[in-house]
């Protein structure tokens, strides 16, 4: 049956056709009692099913897939524990505005509310961490619900949507209609920016002496890379990013300053405080990025461009707000600016100041005199990895070091769990990214604690032929927590030692993957080269010093000006 518009079939089959109509090519999931009819229909589906070893990883894989493909990723789980296992992944996607469609089985309609076996009110649980949650009550509702789910997940500010399908609704065989058009009357994402405000923003930028651009995740979500670069080069403004926006702008560009925030680049944290006008693009002024809300932005004009009206004024009141799609708003600004700016101002005190700060901080941040440090390792990785490779991270020091020492060259090739900070995210997400882009290398920069949480996804990587590289910065510690205990709790360590357990080379080998231990820069170089040629996943287990801290950093509750450099 091809593209049926109306026919008799089961709800589960209707789900498969609906997903096919949305162009789904892969789903990540794990079966159970309440989604058996869906799994039966999957046998004949045209897209690929990837069996995971834990539902949390299914959600992270769908998320990683979505961030790279820039369209919704799909994951499946059964009711009860299957569904609750998805929640960490769904909340992670929600915090980072990633379009994930989670499809859960549910107990039959007449059992709902009876505390049946494996019944969880997943609609209630998912509410605060989804854009919307549907529960179709009969099979004919399924095609419409799926279409609405994709529309809601992918449009406006993207985010996860849950579809909870009772088992009898999956089984029900009936006449089913597939709509081509749907309408969600309570959902009106704003796309076209208000032109008069764009005009005002342009005027303000032109009249400022020390403009700066702060690019957030919204630039990556809307793919506005060339527009961002064009505007930066027109007004010759240094570009900082939020951590979520890392890689929105090529980090080897002469105007790039790297990420700001808690573990941002020192020069970025400093220069943003000296600007007289800031153009915030697709960023939400999170506490992690700007430190204290009351301190940040004093004495400067703030232009805020975002697709979500609720972000305007949420954390920071602004001078000019432009609500709309980042890409189209930037395009309009570029058009307006290029009419006025005929000659680029490449030599001015502001750009000299940029250089000065970079030079100053290149020597005034604490460094470690060892042969193999996280910093050197990441610089080496950058050197050997082709620029279009995709890089993600786990959470902790490994993540912050990547932010600091790994330059993203090709825009949109970096992502991380920045909003929720979910340990165990990076590895399954890298597998999802590999499913979206099998033609490029995908690397997860990991800490041992984080990798330990979802390392069983090695089975998925190996069996599904999705080879990724785990760049394991192994300090045998929950390092980030240890650093805090060292810094703020007088070295009173509690709950941070991993005690060399497990052996990650053996773990890799146990799954049929490639495990390499590296204890010197030489061994590291060989290991990276080996991994780039490997046909299976490679875990590079890099021994680093447990006492290596991440510098600089901005302690929580303080402002960017209070940044600690350790030097």
């Amino acid at each position: 049956m091809n593209n049926p518009t109306m026919s008799e079939m089961s709800g589960a089959k209707a789900l498969m056709y609906s997903l096919e109509k949305e162009g789904v090519d892969v789903v990540f999931g794990l079966p159970g009692g309440a989604n058996l009819p869906i799994y039966d229909a999957l046998v004949d589906a045209k897209f690929r099913h990837i069996l995971v070893r834990h539902e949390q990883s299914a959600a992270h894989m769908a998320d990683g897939y979505a961030r790279i493909k820039r369209k919704a990723g799909v994951c499946l789980a059964t009711s009860g524990p299957g569904a609750t296992n998805l929640i960490t992944g769904i909340a992670t996607a929600y915090a980072d505005s990633s379009p994930v469609i989670a499809i859960t089985g549910q107990v039959p309609l007449n059992m709902i509310g009876k505390d049946a076996f494996q019944e969880t009110d997943i609609i209630g649980v998912a509410n605060p961490c989804t854009k919307y949650a549907f529960q179709p009550r009969c099979a004919p509702e399924i095609p419409e619900v799926v279409k609405k789910s994709f529309y809601i997940a992918e449009s406006g500010r993207p985010g996860p949507v849950l579809i909870d399908i009772p088992k009898d609704v999956q089984q029900d065989v009936t006449e089913i209609l597939f709509p081509d058009l749907i309408k969600v009357r309570g959902y009106k994402p704003i796309v076209d920016p208000d032109l008069s405000n764009v005009g005002k923003a342009v005027e303000l930028l032109l009249s400022s002496e020390r403009p700066i651009i702060m690019a957030g995740g919204g630039v990556i979500l809307s793919g506005a890379f060339s527009e961002l670069q064009a505007i930066a080069e027109l007004i010759m403004a240094p570009v900082v990013t939020t951590f979520k926006g890392k890689g929105a702008f090529p980090e080897n560009h002469p105007l790039a300053m790297g990420p700001i925030g808690m573990h941002g680049h020192a020069e970025a944290n400093r220069i943003i405080l000296e600007a007289d006008c800031i153009l915030a693009v697709g960023a939400r002024f999170s506490d992690r990025s700007v430190g204290r809300f009351d301190e940040f932005g004093k004495g400067m004009n703030i232009i805020h461009l975002d697709i979500d009206p609720a972000e305007i004024g949420k954390n920071k009141s602004v001078d000019i707000a432009i609500v709309g799609d980042v890409k189209s708003a930037l395009r309009t600004m570029v058009k307006m600016l290029s009419k006025t700016i005929t000659k680029k101002n490449t030599e001015n005190p502001w750009l000299r100041r940029r250089k000065e700060l970079i030079e100053y901080f290149s020597e005034n941040i604490k460094d470690y005199p060892r042969e193999l440090t996280a910093r050197k390792a990441l610089k080496k990785l950058r050197e050997l990895l082709p620029p279009e490779s995709i890089v993600t991270t786990e959470v902790g020091q490994c993540q912050m070091w990547t932010s600091l020492h790994f330059d993203v060259i090709s825009p949109g090739t970096f992502f991380s769990s920045t909003g929720l900070g979910t340990m165990g995210f990076g590895f399954p997400a890298s597998i999802g990214a590999k499913a979206a882009r099998p033609d490029v290398h995908v690397v997860d920069v990991a800490g041992d604690g984080s990798f330990n949480m979802t390392e069983n996804s090695l089975a998925v990587s190996v069996l599904e032929n999705l080879p990724v590289i785990v760049f394991l910065l192994n300090n045998d510690m929950l390092g980030m927590v240890a650093q805090w205990q060292r810094t703020f709790y007088d070295r009173r360590y509690m709950g941070v030692h991993q005690k060399s357990c497990p052996d990650y080379v053996k773990i890799a080998e146990a799954y049929g993957a490639n495990g390499i231990k590296a204890q010197s820069m030489d061994e590291l170089e060989k290991a990276i080269k080996n991994a780039l040629k490997s046909e299976v996943a490679t875990v590079i287990d890099l021994t680093i010093d447990p006492e290596e801290d991440v510098y600089p950093f901005v302690a929580p509750g303080t402002g960017l000006k209070d940044m600690i450099t350790g030097a």
């Binding site: 209630g124 509410n127 605060p128 009357r185 309570g186 009206p309 609720a310 305007i312 949420k314």
Partner: protein
């Protein structure tokens, strides 16, 4: 309590049309809880269109928080329309039922007199209590309540505000 906290915050009425289906109220109240929005009253009832309910919220908050509240409400997919009503150009009413302790004849008579002044209705008279129905703006109901505080309120039930913009 600091003097800042004592300063009365402005009164707002937010009117919205929401999908008339299960789970909608849950999503809305969950939003209030999660974002720490403090509301005074909320009423929901059917409208002239069977698939839409009207939800009216009253609150006393700072303008910046009001702005966030409305934006967050607008983001909810089950909310079709939201607007802040101009209090001066809006008809709005609340109904309160108040059971008041009335020990003797004099007490009862006084309460009935007060009720008459407020155009409130006496719904029930027992040996030791009088139950009064007051309809009006929340301020009017507060005024009546303050007046009869001297007699001990046994129980009180208030509906929350219903409101419509004046004119067409």
């Amino acid at each position: 309590m600091s003097s800042k906290e004592n300063k009365p915050k402005p009164f707002y009425i937010i009117s919205s049309l929401v999908e008339n289906k299960p789970g909608v109220l849950f999503r809305i109240t969950n939003l209030f809880r999660a974002r720490n929005f403090n509301i005074e009253s909320i009423t929901v009832g059917i409208t002239e269109k069977p698939d839409l309910s009207r939800m009216t919220i009253t609150t006393r908050i700072d303008e910046a928080i009001l702005d966030q509240l409305v934006k967050q409400l607008r983001k909810l997919i089950d909310i079709v329309e939201v607007e802040i009503l101009d209090v001066n150009n809006t008809v709005y009413r609340e109904l309160a039922l108040i059971k008041i302790k009335a020990k003797d004849f004099t007490n009862r008579n006084e309460i009935i007199n007060f009720a008459n002044v407020f155009r409130a209705n006496i719904l029930d008279i027992g040996i030791e209590s009088v139950t009064v129905e007051v309809i009006g703006t929340p301020d009017k109901i507060d005024a009546f309540k303050n007046l009869i505080l001297q007699y001990d309120i046994v129980e009180m039930a208030r509906t929350g505000v219903s409101a419509l913009q004046r004119g067409e």
